[in-house]
Symmetry: C2
């Protein structure tokens, strides 16, 4: 775990051995079974999660009772429900493990203490959020620009390994299809 997190942090900032030990002391590890929820709709999000192993997804349930996945996080990605976390209001989302998943957890108070004591982590998280924002902006452009079918093909080309790991019904809930429609598109693209 230590080496995996060190490698990620050192992509953005330089942290020595002793400082890393202290930084890691603000986190704890949590293991989730497949389909176990880290956060439920209506709760207040009080932590951020770094995926060590496995996959998380963020979703909401629409008026028709259908789950819509808005985000996935695989190894070395951060996941949180930032809106609820910042405003300390009940979230409209849930966060769930797609498969057996291990995460590094940092609670809100520990996060604030960490940033006070290790200003280098301000830079680290500034970079993380800057990248996350850039990705969300591109995501909005893609949703605006492409038909649902094009979204699937673009996703298939850009994330082939990911597509292998995630069940089809979750890919459908991310792209805004019914599972039946996704199945039709897949058949069309194979034939």
């Amino acid at each position: 775990m230590r080496e995996q997190f060190r490698t990620h942090i050192n992509k953005f900032v330089n942290v020595g051995d002793d400082e890393l030990t202290d930084i890691i002391s603000y986190f704890h590890i949590q293991t989730l079974k497949k389909k176990e929820n880290l956060l439920n709709e209506g709760q207040i999000c009080k932590a951020s999660y770094f995926v060590l192993k496995g996959i998380l997804r963020k979703f909401f349930v629409n008026e028709k009772g259908v789950e819509r996945t808005t985000e996935f996080a695989i190894e070395n990605w951060w996941m949180t429900e930032t809106f609820s976390y910042l405003n300390q209001k009940p979230t409209e989302f849930s966060i769930q493990a797609v498969e057996l998943t291990e995460v590094l957890v940092i609670d809100r108070n520990a996060y604030n203490d960490l940033l006070e004591k290790h200003p280098v982590m301000e830079r680290y998280f500034r970079c993380i959020y800057q990248k996350a924002y850039a990705a969300a902006q591109m995501r909005i452009k893609y949703i605006y620009e492409h038909s649902r079918e094009e979204l699937y093909h673009s996703f298939r080309n850009s994330q082939p390994e990911f597509l292998q790991r995630v069940p089809q019904y979750l890919i459908a809930s991310y792209l805004g299809f019914t599972p039946e429609y996704l199945s039709e598109i897949r058949k069309k693209s194979i034939s």
Copy 2:
């Protein structure tokens, strides 16, 4: 300008008078005429912009040659094309002034120097990007959850003043309507 920017910075961090003077020295002011572009599709985004007065919008031109607005920034909001900025690759977006607009500009090199010299600004920009990311996440949820007509009504209720300031054809390009369709919805909701 100084007081406006000080008020904004001090919402997130504490900066004294002398430090503020030095921080502001990394920025310059730029004035844009209505419809003047700050950034053109194909250019590399090399700066971030803080709106002092006026409105900016970010848009791309789709395959059919239609402009699609993905983001607006009014007074005290930041605007940049983060994906191009981070990767130093040509942008797929343009940034344009909706009306006579005055912005504080910080170039990429100045931004890096500022963060080196004033670590307090790491915290400031971490907070800015954290908020921007939270807003983009909610935006994606809204696009997934609501019909286009619902999006207009939700926008009208949450941003009534903004709706007064921005021409209807830009609201249409933000919500993904043709101007004609927006005009129909407006008529329906008045009658």
